[in-house]
Point group: C2
Chain length 255, copies 2
């Protein structure tokens, strides 16, 4: 049985706790969070603390706090030579304080508190300083997910950057689509089958093969019409820049 | 039984023919296409012609050709006072020649020849000049889809513009994610669960509620790191502009 302490009470921490609670070989022995309020909102009935000096004995300490708080929290841990990992895509392993054995346990998914996540399909990227710790992280990750990857800090940063494009920026495209439809009295739901199909299309083909639309066709006439329809300057800029980038991808440099 | 003639042999025409072939109350009596080659590649065994003067008698003629070819093709039709519609999102009803009764039959989906489409969930936007023709289009659309909407030309243009954001631009974000992962020796497949979840999240919530990421959190440190990682100037520009737009959406104007 692996004994785990979670440090943090945000979206990732919440989903991680829920996933570990279902795993047969992992026990979340404690959750630490600076504020009591965060702890109270967690779906966790076990031991919890707001005092870093009261951390319990465990095989692995998982820091799941905002990126810019990881380093400081790792420094404030009172013990040494134990396995301490973080869950962040963009933070290096060596931003953790070196008094403990360091590692990374990065679940590559978008988490919202109110939405259940099937952790078994979430890729987990692990990294450690030695093969024994890597094995521990591999077993921990395998206890909740079928996809475990060993990824070093450099590659993980690139992966996190790619994730911003395919998740955060994609969601912003949905937001603009939402704005345009609602503004014109069209229910956003009419766009949902298209959104679903666009995501489904790249399951078995590369995005390049699946590209469609006016920019791909170099249909300048439709591009101009669309630019005239857009009222918000930022949306106009986005339309121009992304069309230009699509045209460049398919070998047409001019917009 | 509705008798339909399809004019065109592209992606939309192909999928439309296949959908109508499955409908019990519609018969595709003929397919017209200027080039014989296009006709030969169609999965259609019925009557076909490359001669516009040989069009057969039908209840509805569906023009499914590139946007900039719709008008000319509608002019070249030798008869008058029949129901002639097009399938384009961005072309007005009145770009069709007025010698015939005009209409629109716009399936809001992204079609690729090699990928099967479940037409029953594809929203079809219809428009006509009179209520009898609208009823015909409604029955035709209902024969292949559960989602039929009456949408006028103005709204349809806005909808098509919204579709460019949620489909074409989204796919381009996938493409950039693909490039970044492949360039760093990371299989693109690691990003697929994230892509799927990002699309699934907005099924029951608005995109605004579901936004995550460095720009949403105003995490300037991560934004700067990402900009430094990006080598391609256009990708850098896209990252900057979309982060700025997300920050503006959530009330933070400065990048």
């Amino acid at each position: 049985m692996f004994r785990v302490v979670i440090l943090g009470a945000g979206n990732v921490a919440t989903h991680l706790i829920q996933a570990f609670e279902k795993a047969s070989n992992v026990e979340v022995v404690q959750v630490f969070n600076r504020s009591k309020k965060g702890l109270e909102s967690l779906p966790f009935a076990g031991n919890s603390t707001t005092d870093i000096n009261h951390l319990m004995e465990a095989d692995c300490y998982i820091i799941s706090v905002p990126d810019d708080a990881v380093q400081e929290l790792s420094e404030s841990i009172p013990f040494s030579n134990r396995l301490v990992v973080h869950t962040s895509g963009s933070v290096s392993l060596n931003e953790l304080n070196s008094k403990n054995r360091r590692g990374v346990f990065y679940p590559l998914q978008t988490f919202s508190k109110e939405r259940a996540v099937d952790f078994s399909v979430v890729p987990i990227c692990i990294e450690a300083e030695n093969s024994i710790d890597l094995k521990v992280l591999n077993e921990l990750a395998s206890s909740v997910s079928k996809s475990v990857y060993e990824v070093n800090s450099e590659k993980r940063k690139q992966l996190h950057l790619a994730a911003v494009f395919v998740c955060n920026f994609v969601n912003h495209m949905y937001q603009i689509g939402f704005d345009l439809s609602e503004k014109n009295g069209i229910p956003f739901s009419i766009l949902k089958p298209l959104i679903k199909e666009t995501a489904a299309k790249i399951e078995n083909a590369s995005p390049k093969e699946m590209q469609t639309g006016p920019a791909k066709r170099n249909d300048q006439n439709t591009i101009e019409k669309h630019l005239n329809l857009l009222e918000q300057p930022l949306q106009k800029e986005i339309y121009k820049l992304l069309s230009q980038s699509i045209q460049k991808t398919y070998g047409r440099e001019k917009l």
